[in-house]
């Protein structure tokens, strides 16, 4: 499983890429897309929506199941990857290229996991 060193992670299988000190991209990890299987639908918030740490901001659906996606921090949605609405399979093909949302004015990101720590979380779940 591929979990790049330069990214941060959550226990609920989101990845975080800091754009600057208070802005970050959020996506689903390789482990998450692999466990979910072929994704066929993505439900995302709108630009301007507030997000709350550890609360769902959207959901993704595979052929078999629906799964919430949780916000790693508090903040406000500043961009939505609308391409995914038509092609959710991109999350399977390229989980780290297929970001879901960009969040600005973030706070509470101090507790995010390193790649090593996240790997341990995945191993525990296996």
């Amino acid at each position: 499983m591929n979990h790049p060193q330069e990214l941060k992670y959550t226990r609920s299988h989101e990845w975080v890429k800091m754009v600057d000190d208070t802005t970050a991209l959020v996506g689903l990890t390789d482990y998450a897309q692999h466990s979910l299987g072929d994704l066929v639908f993505v439900n995302l918030p709108m630009v301007g929506d507030p997000v709350t740490k550890e609360e769902a901001f959207g959901d993704v659906e595979s052929v078999k199941a629906v799964s919430d996606v949780f916000s790693p921090f508090d903040g406000e949605v500043s961009k939505v990857n609308e391409e995914l609405l038509d092609e959710p399979g991109k999350i399977n093909a390229d989980p780290y290229g297929a970001w879901l949302i960009e969040v600005s004015n973030i706070s509470g990101q101090e507790e995010l996991l390193s790649a090593e720590d996240y790997e341990k979380v995945c191993q525990e779940e296996e």
């Binding site: 299987g37 072929d38 639908f41 609405l85």
Partner: protein
């Protein structure tokens, strides 16, 4: 403790993701994923382990009488080598299970039942035996492999001669040889696609599985799991026990009229269905018009009023959209009726459409 089919080790070796289903450890998908497996069956070919299904035998001079009383369909005019679908009802007209009957001759039949219902079915069947008939549950000795998809015929022809290849839909040949292995082959399936189902002894199943996969490789044959089996049957609008019907739903409500012969003198459940009179609800197909996926057990509304619930639903890979089946009150069952499904607090627009969603050309 879950049971393993004789093909369990094959699934693990192929990287199958194993889940418990109906008391068995079964592959839900292989590394190719549900969508690729689904599309392989629609366009080329797919191989399924369906050894968890149950098989029982009826033999003797009263075998036919037993089936005609036990099941809603009429087996009187079947010919040897024919296969026929039927619901099996309880006294209230609810469905105990749906199954298929293979006629070897007028005194010998094999009945194939759902894995999840096998023990319940066997109890029910035994409790209703009458006359000169022998009944046997042979499920534990028999493995079943489904070869499905437009390339199935070419694949089977590489391993069998014409005398082992049933030519007509819903027909079978009792004594076949495929790749040197003795088996029963029927032209049946649960995918809405052309294909065969092959029954053999447990010990021969792994060899048959490997042989078919190898032989069909250049024709696009890949192993498929329960995930694709479910999306394929849903796309073809084939009902699944526990979803579109159960012991509280009559086969008429489930839209299985073609397999309920009310003109037959007597069968279990007939009186109850007659007493119920005109249908007040019926199985329909829903095309999801709005954004989202509608799954089972969602409320279906018209103008905010509940008119029924969904029984199955998913994204259909070949049709490229979300579809569901639902049990709706009359008159909301009319094709073209606009309804809404409530999915996690959100209303999604749907429209009643004709069944099946997908029909092979």
């Amino acid at each position: 403790m879950e049971l393993k089919t004789p093909l369990y080790d094959c699934h693990v070796a192929l990287g199958g993701k194993i889940v418990p289903f109906a008391g068995y450890l079964m592959p839900v998908q292989y590394p190719t994923g549900v969508i690729a497996e689904h599309m392989a069956v629609r366009k080329q070919a797919g191989l399924f382990d369906v050894s968890h299904m149950g098989e029982v035998m009826y033999e003797g001079p009263d075998a036919l009488n037993n089936l005609n009383e036990l099941l809603t369909n009429d087996f009187t005019n079947m010919v040897d080598g024919q296969v026929r679908y039927s619901p099996m009802c309880n006294d209230e007209g609810g469905v105990v299970d749906d199954l298929i009957v293979y006629r070897y001759n007028q005194n010998k039949y094999m009945v194939v039942v759902n894995a999840a219902n096998r023990h319940k079915d066997v109890e029910w069947m035994k409790a209703h035996l009458f006359g000169d008939v022998q009944f046997a549950d042979i499920s534990d000795e028999v493995a079943q492999i489904a070869l499905q998809g437009p390339n199935s015929k070419e694949i089977l022809a590489r391993l069998a001669d014409a005398s082992s290849m049933p030519e007509k839909y819903y027909h079978f040949i009792p004594e076949c040889t495929v790749g040197g292995i003795a088996c029963v082959v029927s032209q049946t399936g649960y995918t809405g696609e052309f294909g065969y189902e092959i029954y053999m002894k447990n010990e021969d199943a792994p060899k048959m599985w490997d042989l078919l996969l190898q032989t069909g490789k250049d024709l696009g044959l890949i192993p498929c799991g329960l995930g694709a089996r479910d999306t394929l049957r849903l796309e073809a609008a084939m009902p699944l026990y526990g979803h579109e019907m159960d012991d509280t739903v009559t086969p008429l409500e489930a839209g299985l009229n073609f397999a309920v012969k009310m003109k037959k003198e007597s069968f279990i459940g007939k009186a109850a269905m007659e007493a119920k009179g005109e249908l007040t609800r019926k199985r329909v197909g829903l095309k999801v018009v709005g954004r989202g996926i509608v799954r089972e057990h969602e409320r279906v509304l018209v103008d905010g009023q509940e008119v029924g619930h969904t029984t199955s639903g998913t994204h259909c890979p070949y049709l490229g959209g979300a579809y569901a089946m639902a049990m709706l009150k009359m008159p909301y069952t009319e094709v073209g009726t606009k309804v809404q499904a409530e999915v996690r607090g959100r209303l999604i627009d749907c429209e009643v459409v004709a069944l099946p969603f997908y029909k092979r050309a």
